[in-house]
Structures are given as C-alpha cells and as structure tokens.
C-alpha cells in the first residue's frame, strides 16, 4: 500500500540552527501539507501546497518556515533558525483531492531543539 515517508524520524538540533525535514508524498497525490504536534497537544496546521506554491498557511508558519518541492518526489519543510518552542512532532500529509480528500500522513519527524 502506498505510504507517505518522512525523514529523519528524530532530529536533535541546537537553537538557532537550520533544520530541513523531508517527506516523500504518495506518488499520484497533488496536495501536500505540513502539520505539527507539540507533545500531548493538538495537531496544528502549518501549510498546504499545490502546483508548486503555497495554498494556505497558518499564523505559525512565519518567515522562519519555508516549504519546497525540489523535485518530483520530495516535499521539504525548512526552519531557518530554530527556537526551543519549535520542538514538536512534524507530520507531512498528502491527498489526491482538494477539500474532500482523505489525508495520508507520514509517521512524523520528531524535532528536539536544545
């Protein structure tokens, strides 16, 4: 069964460092998302992406965040200068439909900022 894969599964970084989280969405999906979940808390929307551009972003997704689809398979989330409060689980998701499509999630990348 096709799945969304994320790397790394866990990254530890120092405050102020840049981090890139990688995702390989399901191959025929066109809509991509990043969510984050601080430990034990709710799942928060960060950004949606379609046709090589951001469709929607939340207030969390400030200038420190960026997304990119550098090739036909990868979808990346970059945090330029990490803060302690960026520590969370980051989930990538993809869908084949807009608005009514099931979201397929990866297993997440746990980011720990020290």
């Amino acid at each position: 069964e096709p799945e969304v894969t994320q790397t790394p599964s866990h990254q530890v970084t120092q405050m102020g460092q840049e981090v890139i989280l990688r995702c390989v969405p399901i191959s025929n999906h066109l809509y991509f998302y990043w969510y984050r979940q601080i430990l034990g808390q709710k799942v928060e929307f960060l950004v949606s992406f379609y046709n090589n551009e951001i469709s929607e972003k939340s207030e969390i997704f400030d200038d420190q965040f960026s997304v990119e689809r550098p090739d036909g398979s990868n979808f990346t989330l970059k945090i330029r200068s990490t803060k302690l409060e960026d520590s969370a689980m980051y989930f990538c998701a993809s869908s084949d439909r807009w608005g009514t499509g099931e979201l397929f999630f990866g297993e997440g990348s746990r980011l720990t900022v020290l």
Binding site: Y35, K42, V43, T100, L103, F105
Partner: protein, 111 residues
C-alpha cells in the same frame, strides 16, 4: 478558531464496551473526517462523512453528523484493546486548502 473540540478529552472503558466520542465545530462544512493516532505515530484516516449525510458506518465504526448543531459523534462498538489511541475530528477550512483538527479524545480500552 475553526478547530473542532472533542469531548470527552479522555475515556477509559472495558474491552467489549462501546465508546462514544463527540466533536463540535464552529463553521459551516461540506464534510467532516475522523482520524486515529496511536501513541507516537502518524494519523490514520478512519471515515469521512459529507454534510448531506446524517450517519455513516464502517465496520465497528458509526459516525453521525448534525449540521444544525455543528456536531459529530464517533461510536466504536465492541471495543478492543487495540482500539486504544487518540481520536481526532477534522474539518476543512474556509478555502478547503487545509483541515483543522480538534483537540482529540484519548481512548483507553482495558483488556
């Protein structure tokens, strides 16, 4: 906020019992989805119900939607220990470009 709110926050039941979780939301929607998350894992889609549907079944899952009350419920019948997980409702945003997740219900099924 457009996010749903699940109720209760935590639920503990014996294996074999039914579990009911509720979700309330604030804006008009064209569909609502339920997801499950095992501890430390990604979310898995369970079921989608459209705004013109009142009830939907999938195996041991039964979902209802009341658009007049802006609420939905997820019923898991004959629960199993393997059903232990967090359950989230998700609603589309205004533009359909994103889904907002609720705060989740943590379900524990005791063998």
């Amino acid at each position: 906020s457009q996010q749903g709110e699940e109720d209760p926050q935590a639920l503990s039941i014996q294996e074999g019992e039914n579990a009911t979780m509720n979700c309330s939301y604030k804006t008009s929607i064209n569909n609502l989805q339920w997801y499950r998350q095992n501890s430390g894992r990604g979310l898995v889609h369970l079921i989608l119900i459209r705004s013109n549907e009142r009830e939907k079944h999938s195996g041991r899952l039964r979902v209802t939607l009341d658009t007049s009350k802006k609420s939905s419920s997820l019923l898991i019948t004959a629960s199993r220990a393997a059903d232990t997980a967090s359950y989230f409702c998700a609603t589309p945003g205004d533009t359909g470009n994103q889904f907002y997740f609720g705060t989740g219900t943590s379900l524990t099924v005791i063998p």
